[in-house]
């Protein structure tokens, strides 16, 4: 016997992601899913962003194991929840649902930064209820990342090219990187930053605040 199904296999995850979205809207918050490879500088980028941002911010740190990143974030007095996937290579909507419960009122009228597990593949496939994704790539990783891992660059509303302070020390074909990102995502934004020195952070912050205000005014 044949059964027609035609079902997205991520339906269960997407259902919870919708619930998370509703919860975030209720809290008048905005959630950003930050995706990048291990060592791209995601944690430093989040910390530097929050240091420059005059909007309440909280962080959900996702890692396979350890609390190294959440301790780093907490050093700056930023509310943070660490979640460990115990081997899983990405966060899913259920994990975020639980983390939001832990953050309770600190995640109201705020920007919630979710640092996904360091990985350019799986995190792109799982909606966690975010308002949008941000892809973080860095100069030492090379300009080929959009070509090798297209999904994340295609889905990200913004791509952040981090560690631009290293441009004299590494080979990086900027045009090729831009061409790859723009082919996959012609409407996406690209920001070049140094999370170490703060270069480019102001431009990124300005855009981020626009996204937040736009969401609140809708």
């Amino acid at each position: 016997m044949e059964i027609k199904v035609i079902k997205d296999v991520l339906e269960a995850n997407n259902y919870i992601a919708c619930k998370v979205k509703e919860e975030i809207a209720k809290r008048q918050a905005m959630m950003i899913n930050i995706i990048g490879s291990p060592g791209a500088g995601k944690t430093s980028f989040i910390v530097k962003t929050i240091q420059y941002l005059d909007i309440k911010s909280v962080v959900i740190e996702g890692d396979v194991t350890s609390d190294i990143d959440s301790r780093k974030v907490a050093e700056f007095g930023i509310p943070v929840v660490q979640v460990n996937t115990g081997g899983g290579c990405h966060l899913n909507a259920n994990i975020i649902d639980l983390a939001l419960q832990e953050l309770s009122s600190s995640a109201e009228n705020a920007i919630i930064f979710v640092e996904n597990v360091g990985n350019l593949i799986c995190p792109a496939s799982f909606d966690i209820g975010e308002d949008f994704k941000v892809a973080v790539s860095s100069l030492p990783e090379g300009h080929d990342k959009p070509y090798k891992y297209p999904a994340v660059f295609e889905k990200a509303r913004a791509t952040v090219l981090n560690k631009i302070d290293l441009k004299r020390h590494v080979e990086f074909d900027r045009d090729s990187f831009y061409e790859g990102v723009k082919t996959l995502n012609p409407d996406g934004y690209i920001f070049e930053v140094s999370s170490l020195l703060g270069d480019g952070i102001k431009e990124w912050i300005q855009w981020l605040k626009q996204q937040f205000m736009r969401k609140l005014n809708h």
Binding site: M1, I3, K4, L10, N13, G87, N92, Y147, T183, L184
Partner: protein, 113 residues
């Protein structure tokens, strides 16, 4: 390491949830994989074999229909599909613009006994 495991687990859950009460064996599962989904059929098969043990789907044959994303070349204007190794236009080697993204994983149909 676990890439593909969650999606395979979701495939199995979906199939078992669709199984009518009077059926006790799934013989075939037809799956559509988008080329930007990040998943490959061979990996799904491998995980499925592990996960489906002792379930009605343990002997099911998995088939995969790959959907390729479409681009329009910004130079020659032709439509083209993403090849396995490149997002460049195969006609003039220029870059294009993504106009149809295939990033989903769908179960199309299952066969049961």
């Amino acid at each position: 390491m676990l890439h593909g495991l969650s999606i395979t687990s979701a495939i199995l859950d979906t199939v078992l949830s669709e199984l009518p009460a009077d059926c006790n064996k799934v013989t075939r599962i037809d799956i559509t994989l988008g080329d930007l989904s990040g998943f490959v059929g061979e990996h799904v098969k491998y995980y499925f074999e592990l996960l489906s043990r002792d379930t009605p789907a343990s002997d099911a044959i998995l088939t995969f229909d790959y959907k390729r994303s479409k681009f329009r070349c910004t130079n020659c204007g032709k439509l083209y599909e993403r090849s396995d190794f490149s997002i460049r236009c195969p006609y003039c080697k220029s870059m294009g613009t993504l106009i149809e993204s295939c990033n989903s994983v769908y179960i199309n149909r299952i066969e049961v006994e």
